[in-house]
């Protein structure tokens, strides 16, 4: 009971602060400070702190609640990796990876900038994030969703995106780190001199994380067009995979 009350108070303070800060920033910074448009793909060689399956090499500082969830998760990556046939990773059942995990899946994605709005389109299963940059705050009463509710503003040439209202049945990474519905993800998108696009990410969750999980990821621009890639194709492909596993000489 006391933990619940504490979490509730922390959430109230946090949400109030975030809303206040966002509204102030957004009203002053609605003009795009950079052109981030294009098709991008992750570049693991650029020295960012994230890697193929998680946001850092170390497991984050989790709460007791999160540790219990984590212990029950059986990922296919990391030190606790199991085979695909044994995993309970929801993405293998074609559930959306959610925000921010979508960034850990190695598929290209596209930014389309338009007045008052930035679209992020992901080749992986065609997910779209509709990020409003017109000064509005988070919508109320919409419930939770896989990719969350995103608003953005420009901090000079940095696009800052704040995402809330995410379902709690996604994992933050591909190694089984959980989160609650109270997770807030702040992403800062900016170009470097070499025209690489960096995303600095801060994940806070008063229920799951004892401290913010801070990381970065690098992307390089491509001349590709996004193609179709649907998770459900894995279902028909699994017939071929099962023939391997069931092979009897």
């Amino acid at each position: 009971m006391s933990r619940f009350f504490y979490s509730f108070v922390v959430l109230l303070v946090f949400v109030f602060n975030v809303h206040t800060a966002s509204a102030q920033e957004a009203s002053a910074n609605l003009t795009p400070g950079a052109d981030l448009s294009g098709v991008w793909t992750r570049d693991n060689s650029a020295g960012a702190t994230s890697h193929n399956s998680s946001w850092s090499r170390e497991i984050p500082n989790m709460t007791e609640w999160a540790q219990a969830q984590f212990d029950g998760h059986m990922p296919t990556f990391g030190e606790r990796a199991v085979s695909v046939s044994d995993t309970n990773d929801p993405v293998y059942a074609c559930y959306p990876p959610g925000t921010p995990r979508i960034w850990l899946h190695p598929f290209p994605w596209e930014i389309i900038q338009m007045p008052g709005r930035v679209l992020m389109i992901y080749e992986y299963d065609g997910f779209i994030r509709n990020i409003f940059t017109d000064g509005r705050g988070h919508r109320e009463g919409i419930g939770n969703s896989w990719m969350g509710d995103s608003i953005g503003y420009w901090d000079d040439d940095v696009l800052v995106v704040e995402t809330t209202n995410m379902r709690d049945d996604t994992w933050i990474d591909r190694e089984g780190v959980p989160h609650s519905e109270e997770m807030v993800v702040i992403e800062r998108f900016h170009l470097r001199d070499d025209n690489s696009l960096w995303i600095d990410i801060e994940i806070t969750d008063p229920v799951a994380l004892n401290e913010p999980w801070v990381t970065s990821q690098a992307h390089r621009k491509t001349d590709w067009t996004l193609e179709e890639f649907r998770c459900m194709d894995n279902v028909s492909f699994s017939e071929w995979e099962e023939q391997i596993l069931e092979y009897d000489n």
Partner: protein
């Protein structure tokens, strides 16, 4: 008949696919096969090639091999080879495949190199892994 089946030690493996869990393929071994294409599935999440291979006893075995996704091969992000299309190979073509065999002996490969009958490399190292690794 020319030897069709040989094993090579494969030390450096860059997985083409993260779809499978560990243990399905023997990543320390690369098999070298040449045969006739019976089916070419240019699809996601993995492109599939099926070839008929005649073994040392004269029996025909239908092998299949998986690659990365159609999207990646169509962008040619695995090296400096030509981008693949759905016409990259046709049934009846002679194809050489190098790949990691299934651990349980099934005639399935995770492909690391594909070349045409005349030696044009479509994916992977210039030379067959016996020379490349």
């Amino acid at each position: 008949m020319k030897k069709l089946f040989s094993l090579f030690l494969f030390l450096l493996v860059s997985p083409l696919s993260a779809h499978h869990g560990a243990g399905v393929y023997d990543t320390q071994t690369v098999i070298d096969l040449t045969g006739t294409v019976t089916d070419f599935q240019f699809r996601n999440p993995h492109v599939l090639i099926f070839i008929d291979v005649t073994d040392g006893s004269g029996n025909i075995v239908n092998w299949s091999g998986e690659l990365t996704s159609r999207n990646r091969l169509s962008r040619q992000v695995n090296g400096n080879r030509e981008a693949w299309t759905n016409n990259t190979m046709q049934p009846g073509d002679t194809i050489q495949l190098n790949g990691n065999p299934a651990v349980n002996g099934a005639p399935f490969l995770r492909l690391v190199r594909v070349a045409t009958g005349d030696g044009t490399v479509l994916l992977g190292a210039d030379n067959s892994p016996s020379g490349a690794y």
